[in-house]
């Protein structure tokens, strides 16, 4: 019982703080943070655990968002079903392109993903304009039906739902870290030859990781669609392709809470700095260079050892007493 609690403790503290944040900051900000952090954790998992850097995350985000959007615009009204459709769309897309992409080396992988993002962008903006309404986007806010238990068409209840979803996503990724699969992911990043030698298939491990990460990304896309009530090609614009990578690095790639902390820091900085000097790229850019040169550990990667030291010292102290 106590062991189980210990496993959940970190998660409960983190999301307790997140829920508390709701009181302090405006609601749109809190919602943005929750969705964006789900968006980022897929990228963080790929970069920090599997060693794949992807500049194409917006593609999967848009696939999830458009999956949800199509359902809510053309077929149904239930947002939960819409979310499931979005997740399914993301899963199918990742499962189709995955086998082709994960064969490539990390640098090519990043660029092929970027290419996919551009293709999805022009598909949605021009080629499929009859269905997607091009640049105008699909507007379906009024189509979303109120649901009896958690009415996620209202922003405040949406926050509760999104936080719950994020909590379980995080629990899932924490669980992954403990499994054999999690160890294999780390191994394929560090030394693929040795993993092969141990009898595991690099290809299968990478493919599974790729599908998991991008299904999560599609989930974030679906949440965006339900929350904003519209989808537009702007979501997958190549100019925003690096956002999740920046947030991942900022928070600390591969750390469990990195995406959460990184998102809060990034969204917060964007808000505050753009009000102060109207020129936040300058700041973010040089911060990124600084973090990389300082040892690419990010915020969480820097704080974590320090926190652990404090905890262990306190434990040692209580033992003496």
């Amino acid at each position: 019982m106590f062991e189980a609690f210990k496993w959940w403790r970190g998660l409960l503290i983190a999301f307790g703080l997140l829920a508390l944040m709701r009181v302090v900051v405006p609601l749109p900000f809190a919602n943005e943070v929750v969705i964006f952090s789900i968006y980022t954790i897929g990228c963080s998992f790929l970069l920090g655990r599997v060693g794949f850097i992807s500049f194409g995350q917006p593609a999967y985000l848009a696939i999830g968002a458009y999956g949800t959007g199509f359902y809510l615009f053309y077929f149904g009204t239930n947002p939960f079903v819409g979310l499931l459709v979005g997740i399914a769309a993301g899963f199918v897309a990742a499962a189709i392109v995955g086998p082709l992409f994960v064969r490539l080396r990390s640098d090519y992988f990043a660029l092929v993903n970027l290419a996919l993002a551009v293709i999805v962008f022009y598909l949605m903006q021009k080629v499929l304009a009859d269905v997607t309404k091009g640049d105008n986007g699909l507007w379906f806010l009024t189509n979303i039906a109120s649901t009896p238990v958690l009415d996620i068409s209202r922003p405040d209840q949406f926050f509760i739902f999104a936080t719950l979803v994020a909590f379980f996503v995080w629990a899932f990724y924490k669980y992954l870290d403990d499994t054999l699969f999690g160890a294999c992911c780390l191994a394929t990043k560090i030394n693929e030859d040795k993993l092969q030698f141990l009898g595991y298939s690099n290809f299968k491990v990478r493919l599974l990781a790729f599908v998991i990460a991008n299904t999560t990304t599609a989930l974030a896309g679906g949440l965006y669609a339900v929350y904003l009530g519209f989808v537009s090609p702007d979501m997958t614009s190549p100019a925003r392709a690096a956002d999740p990578v920046i947030v991942t690095i900022l928070g600390g790639a591969g750390t469990l809470y990195g995406p959460l902390v990184g998102t809060i820091a990034y969204t917060g900085m964007k808000d505050v700095i753009s009000k102060l000097i109207g020129n936040w790229e300058l700041f973010i850019g040089f911060l990124l260079v600084f973090i990389m040169l300082a040892g690419e550990k990010g915020i969480v990667g820097t704080i974590e050892p320090w926190l652990k030291r404090i905890v262990s010292r306190r434990k040692a102290g209580s033992r003496q007493a």
């Binding site: 990390s106 090519y108 970027l114 080629v127 690096a242 260079v289």
Partner: protein
Amino acid sequence: MDAQLLLSGIIFGLSIGSIFFLMAIGLSLCFGLMRVISLDQLLYYSIGGYLTYTVSVGTGSVWLGVLAGLVVAGITAFAVERFVFRRIYDRDVAFSMITTFGILIGGVGVIKAIWGLVPRPVAMPAGDQVDILGTFVPGYRLIVIVVAILVYVAIWLFLNRTIVGKAIRAGIEDVDHVEGLGINVYRLFTITFIIAGTLSGLAGGLHAPLIMVDPSMGLEVIALVFMVVIIGGLGSIKGTAVSALLVGQVMSLGSLIYAPLAQMAPFAIMLLILLIKPTGLYGSPLLKR
């Protein structure tokens, strides 16, 4: 479609391809020799464009502006190499990609602070139309093509006929052996990086009259330039030239057939080529490290 449209389409494609070639050659050399992916080349491209704008407004001569652009781009490249790249040469490729992306958006922020957000037009020099086989094409585009050809020849002579160029080529094959011969490879790196930055600046300066310079001009071409390098194969000059021509033509002729193709077709081609030959057209497995 009629022959005149086709001919002007081909000239258009060649001039676009020339710009891409000038930019991509720097990226390609940097990857080949130093094994870094230098996204900040796009920053030097923007710097080239903006200086062309400023100087051409000040003095009335676009060519002077292009010259100023490439000199300043080269100097900036030198500074960045000194302060940032020196520290990241021995890290893996993804690392340099993220770091240089930081430099790129930081630099875009600086550009926004200096020149503001509004796109600026640059006057077209040599605005006369030239008559080729009964089709009138803008003379400036022909000049761009000629400049790209001259640069290709100059780079080829530099790499094949001078001792520094030969050392760079040897470095692309095996940098450790070059170092073992007593050549200071870090000096080679600096030289290569300055060449790359200067060429990107030149590309920006030449491209400026054809488009409007705006702060995100680098981000707009980033995907296309990358694609040129990838299709050609990282580290191969010939491959870069061939794929720049290919991409330019696909964009220009594709848009004659169906407008959205201009942006999408090159990416589809890149996906196809990478899936068939993961190292690009001319990339050799030697480059794997």
